[in-house]
Symmetry: C2
């Protein structure tokens, strides 16, 4: 099961009653943070998420409302006893941005691994007590495949899709029938071949067909370009910016390279996602719920995010 | 009259119910901000202070809890229509720190004037619709003289003292008795000499002796070094860090280069200030009021700051 928490759902500037857009993915005892505007660490305190187990931070783009919280959060993670490396994944310029933002920090007690503008999917796996990010290859048994899409905003901006792989089920009856010694079962379950006593045991001898995992897409900030529909296709959850609620604000959305609720819902529909979660509301929106019908008219299964909103996603049997 | 607002009174990390230490001085329609940790712009929204008229930002030192709010605040000031230059005054390294923190900001609609580690007092005057900062000289008719003291913290750190000058009173009876034409009265009142019709009119012909102004001292973060007592001598208000409330935490205070309440009160006493305002409380302090007696035992006129605390200072007749 995956738990997602919306730490904040605001865009542009931090407000009194709304933190800036940021989402925390809880995955098997570890955390992946998506965007980190000013105040994200306070939102994390509010939600009692803890600071130590954040292994990966994905930054969509370098606008302040998505990145200015980074130096404070990393300092606080250091103060909270973090010593394991932290991986930051971001668009073109992320390396210089982090260098600049952290220039006054004399020392962090952990290594920062920065992956700038990756062109190919990345694999995420548990290793060395943390989530490790590497270039994805077929050989690589990724737990999560992180896919990236270039978006259409006023600065270079990346959309993310997390394909959470569900392990193939091990069939003990087949293993018994084939006389495979029990000591090799866990190795085969991990997808690795075993050679022993002139015999070769292949994973497909004991594993059932792969089961359907989960797809979480995160798209902010951007105009609703066509490529997004394919990218998010069939997502279990599609987290998308809805900077403007009312269709009447379409001109502003076009000018500022953002989306209206109904445009986001249009992507949800063409992308055939299970559920749309709207976030990143303009500072002019006090209560986003009142604009919900603009999305509902296009895509029925829409939820309006709020700070502290929690979503649990389970595998379907 | 001067109004001061404590925007936040926390030290170390931003907390849910306490903003980081920051003070806003309202002076004749303009504002001077002292320190800017993560969330200071939100504290300003909380206090409805507005963002446009902040002419000067003084940064004591480069630790995150005093500076990480700067990129966000400056962005928001730009979004709020600021076009007049903003002066930032800070310790050694402030120029590089600002450059780094602002490296992702493509454009600010105002000029930043940075004064790094000034060695001599500065003068602050109204000019060109803003408060202008220059090196202080006797000739210069400063409205405020800003004095700076090197403190004793774990990084280079500056204490500030604002000497707010009260203009000498104009005596119209003297001017009438000396037959000084009315058209020159305002020039003389400004302290400038007038030559007209072979006559020379000096300001001291019509101005009474200078009246006592106000002294506001701002000392954080530091150990209580001796030089502070002289620096703050006779202050109307002495804003001082009290990171630790209990005397039992003296060892921590020494180790982390901070002060206890009683140490700050000791400075208030030896500096013969009118009033001590304690701020910059450790994250371990939930309610600073319960430690007040540690200060009171040393210096009677102590006030414990809280977020949103307002102090109005008037000239004494």
């Amino acid at each position: 099961m995956i738990t997602l928490k919306i730490l904040g759902c605001g865009g542009g500037m931090p407000m009194i009653n709304r933190f800036l857009s940021s989402t925390l993915i809880h995955y098997q005892g570890k955390k992946i943070l998506l965007d980190c505007g000013e105040g994200t660490q306070v939102a994390m305190r509010n939600n009692k998420t803890g600071f130590k187990n954040i292994d990966i931070i994905c930054i969509t783009h370098l606008h302040g409302d998505h990145i200015f919280g980074l130096p404070g959060l990393l300092s606080t993670m250091g103060n909270s006893g973090r010593t394991l490396p932290v991986t930051i994944i971001g668009c073109i310029g992320i390396r210089d941005a982090v260098k600049g933002l952290l220039s006054t920090i004399a020392y962090l007690p952990f290594e920062l691994i920065i992956i700038e503008n990756p062109k190919n999917p990345l694999s995420i796996t548990h290793s060395s007590h943390r989530l490790v990010v590497e270039e994805y290859s077929i050989v690589n048994e990724a737990e999560i495949i992180l896919n990236i899409l270039e978006l259409d905003h006023s600065s270079s901006c990346m959309g993310f899709r997390f394909d959470i792989i569900r392990k193939a089920q091990f069939n003990p009856e087949k293993a018994i029938a084939l006389n495979i010694p029990k000591q090799f079962w866990s190795t085969l379950q991990k997808g690795q071949t075993v050679s022993y006593d002139n015999k070769v045991y292949e994973p497909n001898m004991v594993l059932e067909n792969k089961r359907k995992g989960l797809k979480i897409s995160y798209i902010t900030d951007t105009r609703p370009i066509e490529a997004i529909s394919d990218f998010i296709k069939g997502s279990t959850l599609f987290i998308c910016e809805g900077t403007y609620g009312d269709d009447a604000d379409l001109k502003k959305a076009i000018k500022n390279k953002h989306m209206t609720f109904s445009e986001a819902a249009g992507l949800a529909k063409s992308g055939e996602v299970k559920e749309l979660l709207l976030t990143h509301f303009s500072t002019a929106i006090e209560n986003a719920e009142i604009y919900k019908s603009f999305a509902d008219d296009v895509f029925e299964n829409t939820v309006i995010a709020y700070d502290g909103f929690v979503k649990k996603l389970s595998y379907k049997h």
